[in-house]
Amino acid sequence: MSGKNKLGRVLADNAVVILFILLSVIAIPFSGFSVQNILQEMFTRLGRNSFLVLALLLPIYAGMGLNFGMTLGAMAGQIGLIMAIDWGIAGWRGLVFAALVGTPLSILLGWICGAVMNRAKGREMVTGYILAFFMNGVYMFLVLFTMGAVIPVRSATILLTRGYGIRNTLNLDLVRASLDKLLMLRIGPFFIPVATYLVIAVLCVFIVWFKKTKLGQDMRAVGHDLVVADSAGIPVERTRIIAVVISTVLACYGQIIFLQNMGNMATYNAHDQTGFFAVAAILVGGASVKKASLLNAFLGIFLLHLMFYVSPRAGQNLFGSAMIGEYFRQFVGYGVIALSLVLYAWKTRRDAVFAREVLKNNGSSGHSDAAKEGAAK
């Protein structure tokens, strides 16, 4: 009996992962892609997206949920890239330059984001989401109205014909795939962008190391319980801001890596979906609002992008309409975020009720306050 219960719990805890594996297994044959084709695409996409998804980890440790505000970092990265293209800095140097421009910007934006979230404790996620929308307006103002008018832009080719404002699509030929091609390894039929993978590996090492530092430990304490952390003398608000700042800076680098792989940039839309894809990926990998690991990130990227890659084709072959597949993958993306949030909220409540029962059975009335606090969380 208890074994069956355990199995049920494992299934419930990994419902999203299992659902995704099932969907992919069904969709792959219908897509008609060869295994080799799919694997190559996955190698590329792992390189393209991992950095962005890993940027989500620290705020989760700090108990701030999924950082939808990472879009701010993506915007900073894009401004960096615009500058690099404008100055005509080619190859990997262009990427480094973009990162150098993006870093102070994203530190500033991250600090703003953290401060705003500190004022909205308990609803960081929705606040971050709206903040990203808000900053999108500011970004549009900067790039569409001041670049070329107030902020000097040297090359007229990236400007709109009216003389100011950056073109809707920016050609990134100067830096296209410059990180990927730095060390492209050929193994059998596959091309593997080793340099990109190395950068991602360095980030992974950084995250593992960071978790062990004093600051990292503080962050986890804050994530575990704000009140306890505060009374233990941890500067709660400051720690939370640092988590978001690091996340935003990482998102900035992540977006630069993402865009150098894509090779061109939709100036006003490239960042729209950044948060959505990254959050969907880490949730598909089995992470929750409070708990996430490196494994969740990589598994999630693989599963989500497998799905995203095969479903338009599968839709085309199954229903004779590519649009159905296209809508389907967006439905799955949004649906999976909703589902994981629901499952998590539901699980927290179930555990809270359970904890309350345990305390109730223990008797003493002094405990009921603690139970209430557990329930409120």
Binding site: A120, F134, M140, L144, S321, F328, F331, I337, L341
Partner: protein, 347 residues
């Protein structure tokens, strides 16, 4: 002086700035060659179009479910009602009513289920609502392609199936409310009497409802769930009812919007429709957990006024299309302000 200060703090700087900005634009309009009467008529019309969707925020805010980012669910029900009514081919006022009734039917079912879902996730409603809304819009996008509609006015001409992205309601129930008893002053100024009456009716219904036993219980649940439970109110039931009511209002709201706008927008059209409604009610003075009819009316008027006036005035003033940026910054800035504000009444 102290009183003024308190009023400003209660009302909030952002709202005052928006208010004065709007006043400034009305004053500036004649100087840059924008006709005041035409703009004012436009504002009235857009106020009527959007007011009911803003009204849809009230029940959920009052019952403590937060801002209804899940409005797309109601909108989808409205779209179902509208398309089915056109499929049936009923024209005129009857067509509009049929659309509303079908929409209410779907909205009550979807809203109830949605309410049960939100009961399971207390405290995380807003984020989840947003994604439930998005997911349902995408799901319906698939449905619009596969559902067996065949009215030649709605499906793609060459394939004979799959609904078009925008469907005109012309020849069915275009402007049935707007033109009802409409009063015309001169060439440019029209009061859409029927539309405003319908909005007034909806506001009245919600106003009366919030004062019935159920409505009071709902507000109690929102202000203090523990106290409400102690006085024998079923918290979950009240919340579910409020969500259902919000969804139904959203469904009616989109049909009213469409009859004036002239088109039904399908597929990804409803994706972001919740945000203007949320921004409007917040501009009107609502907070995350308190909203009144006055907030709805004032907020819709201010926000729609802003949306109408900025493009015409700013564009002729600065010779560029800055209005889009202003719209984004104002509406999201307002939501952000409400989310980060430590309200005196919270808890």
């Amino acid at each position: 002086m102290l009183k003024v200060k308190e009023f400003i703090r209660d009302f909030g700087w952002p709202r005052l700035i928006i208010f004065f900005f709007l006043v400034f634009m009305f004053i500036a309009a004649p100087f840059v060659g924008v006709r005041l009467d035409a703009s004012f008529s436009d504002v009235l019309n857009r106020f009527g179009m959007n007011a009911i969707m803003v009204l849809a925020m009230v029940p959920m805010v009052q019952s403590g479910c937060g801002l209804n980012f899940g409005l797309p669910l109601g909108i989808i029900s409205g779209l179902l009602g509208a398309t089915i009514s056109i499929q049936l081919g009923v024209t005129g006022f009857g067509g509009f009513l049929i659309a509303v009734f079908i929409a209410l039917f779907f909205a009550s079912i979807l809203g109830w289920l949605y309410g049960l879902l939100l009961n399971k996730v207390k405290g995380e409603e807003m984020t989840i609502a947003m994604y439930v809304g998005f997911a349902s819009v995408m799901f319906m996008s698939i449905m619009w392609l596969v559902l067996p509609y065949n009215s030649p006015n709605m499906v793609w001409g060459y394939a004979g199936k799959g609904l078009r992205t925008t469907i005109t309601v012309e020849g069915y129930w275009l402007r049935v409310l707007n033109n009802f008893l409409a009063i015309k002053f001169g060439e440019f100024f029209v009061i859409p009497t029927g539309l405003l009456l319908f909005v007034a009716l909806c506001v009245l219904i919600v106003y009366v409802f919030m004062r019935t036993k159920t409505g009071t219980a709902m507000t109690a649940v929102g202000s203090n769930p523990d106290f409400a439970r102690a006085s024998g109110v079923s918290v979950d039931r009240m919340r579910a009812i409020s969500v259902m009511l919000s969804t139904m209002l959203g469904a009616v709201g989109i049909i009213v919007y469409e009859q004036s706008f002239g088109f039904i927008q399908l597929y990804t059209g409803p994706l972001y429709m919740a945000f203007p409604a949320v921004a409007a009610i917040l501009i009107g003075g609502a907070s995350v957990n308190k909203a009144s009819m006055l907030n709805v009316l004032v907020g819709t008027f201010l926000f729609q006024g802003l949306l109408t006036m900025t493009p015409s005035v700013i564009n002729s003033l600065l010779q560029n299309d800055m209005s889009e940026v202003i719209r984004i910054v104002v509406s999201n800035g307002m939501i952000l302000y409400a989310l980060t504000r430590k309200t005196k009444v919270s808890k």
